[in-house]
């Protein structure tokens, strides 16, 4: 599967790569929300999944979530928020805006993998 990992933290991107690449996923990295849009607009194929932080420069994760939800080209791509925004209000806000999953940091690798598998298999 082709997965975009969008996080301004290199550490989190590397952690995600460490756990997902051995499972056969192909990872594209974005360091902010603007880069997610760039990857989508310039890429030659649509990703199967986007893992996205909330607080990022240029465009934050929630802005990207809203933008993609309104774009017919991309609104079918499942998005999982992977964020430090841990309170229930933000979780509900993201899920209402179309996020298919919501993982809070710190996260255990099995939570990440299970959430991804559940969404890709549904």
């Amino acid at each position: 599967m082709k997965v975009i990992v969008a996080d301004d933290s290199m550490l989190t991107r590397r952690i995600v790569i460490k756990y997902l690449e051995p499972l056969g996923h192909s990872i594209l990295q974005a360091a902010n929300g603007g880069e997610v849009v760039d990857i989508l607009n310039t890429g030659d194929s649509t990703p199967d999944l986007i893992l996205m932080d909330w607080n990022m420069p240029v465009l934050d994760g929630f802005q990207v979530l809203q933008m993609l939800g309104k774009d017919n080209r991309y609104k079918a791509i499942p998005i999982i928020m992977l964020t430090s925004e841990s309170d229930d209000a933000n979780r509900e806000k993201a899920l209402s805006a179309g996020a298919k999953g919501y993982i809070t940091k710190p996260f255990a690798p099995e939570d990440l993998i299970n959430t991804i598998n559940d969404i890709l298999n549904s």
């Binding site: 590397r14 964020t83 430090s84 809070t104």
Partner: protein
């Protein structure tokens, strides 16, 4: 009873201070030792009759050995020096004190530094406990490191030095700053443990980024516990400060709680400065 560690003090100086401070102060006087455990002391003093570089190095070593505890370090000098004291302060000393000062002044200054720091009130623990829990959770979940919370104190004038700090600003109903400060060795150990690689494989860029992400996770995770309180806040993007034994300063009016954690024989600190919002604005 207060405890005072004297480093490099002659018998004459030790005797003088012992007489001045009386029986209520337990004094241990030894030659300076680089890796001595000094956490049991209320105050640490170093005697030096010159401004040579090794004095600065000794102060830095003593500051490192305090393991972020609230232990002031005082430089004792025979006479008041015409030179600037700034290098000593930058190295971690709280004050320089000339032994030629009147005895009453010496006693007053030394005793003032041995007064224990203020402990948090119950209301203050309401917002500090979430940061204690979230710090332990981040280290445990991400790095498989079981850390111990050791103590909390309010900073006042304490000199907080470290090698790498992650800083995040908080805004919204409550406003403030949260800072994690570590020395290199532990910082490398944490990030290498998260990535499952050796410390040699951790690039400086990944180390910087990682410490920023850790303070982001600590603050974000604490936020959940503060929903519907006057301490609820919004996160900003973290920044990282690098530099061997840099000092983290805060505005004079801020109320800074220092949370000290230990991992095996190493320590780190999380400083929380959070001003609650007015009731009407609190979420």
């Amino acid at each position: 009873m207060s405890t005072l560690l004297l480093n490099d003090c002659s018998d004459k100086v030790t005797e003088k201070l012992s007489q001045l401070l009386g029986k209520n102060t337990r004094i241990v006087s030894t030659p300076f030792q680089e890796n001595r455990d000094i956490c049991e002391f209320d105050l640490v003093a170093l005697y030096s009759d010159n401004a040579a570089g090794d004095t600065l190095e000794k102060i830095k070593h003593l500051r490192f050995s305090t393991k972020f505890r609230n232990i002031p370090i005082i430089l004792l000098q025979p006479e008041k020096s015409p030179r600037s004291n700034r290098p000593f302060f930058s190295s971690g000393a709280m004050e320089t004190l000339a032994l030629s000062e009147p005895p009453e002044a010496l006693v007053q200054i030394l005793q003032s530094h041995m007064i224990p720091g203020r402990k948090p009130r119950e209301k203050e623990m309401e917002y500090l406990n979430p940061f204690i829990s979230s710090t332990k959770d981040v280290f445990s979940t991400m790095a498989s490191m079981d850390i111990d919370f050791r103590q909390v104190y309010f900073q006042n004038e304490h000199r907080m030095l470290g090698d790498i700090s992650g800083v995040i600003g908080l805004s919204g109903a409550a406003e403030g700053t949260v800072v994690i400060t570590l020395y290199w060795e532990l910082a490398q150990q944490v990030i290498s443990s998260i990535m499952g690689v050796t410390t040699e494989e951790i690039s400086p860029e990944l180390l910087n980024d990682g410490i920023g992400e850790i303070i982001n996770m600590i603050s974000g995770s604490a936020k959940r516990y503060l929903t519907d309180t006057q301490f609820y806040f919004q996160l900003s993007l973290p920044t990282v400060i690098l530099g061997w034994q840099h000092e983290i300063g805060h505005p004079e009016s801020s109320n800074v709680a220092v949370l000290v954690f230990d991992y095996e024989d190493k320590s780190f600190a999380v400083q929380v400065s959070l001003t609650p919002g007015k009731g009407d604005n609190a979420k």
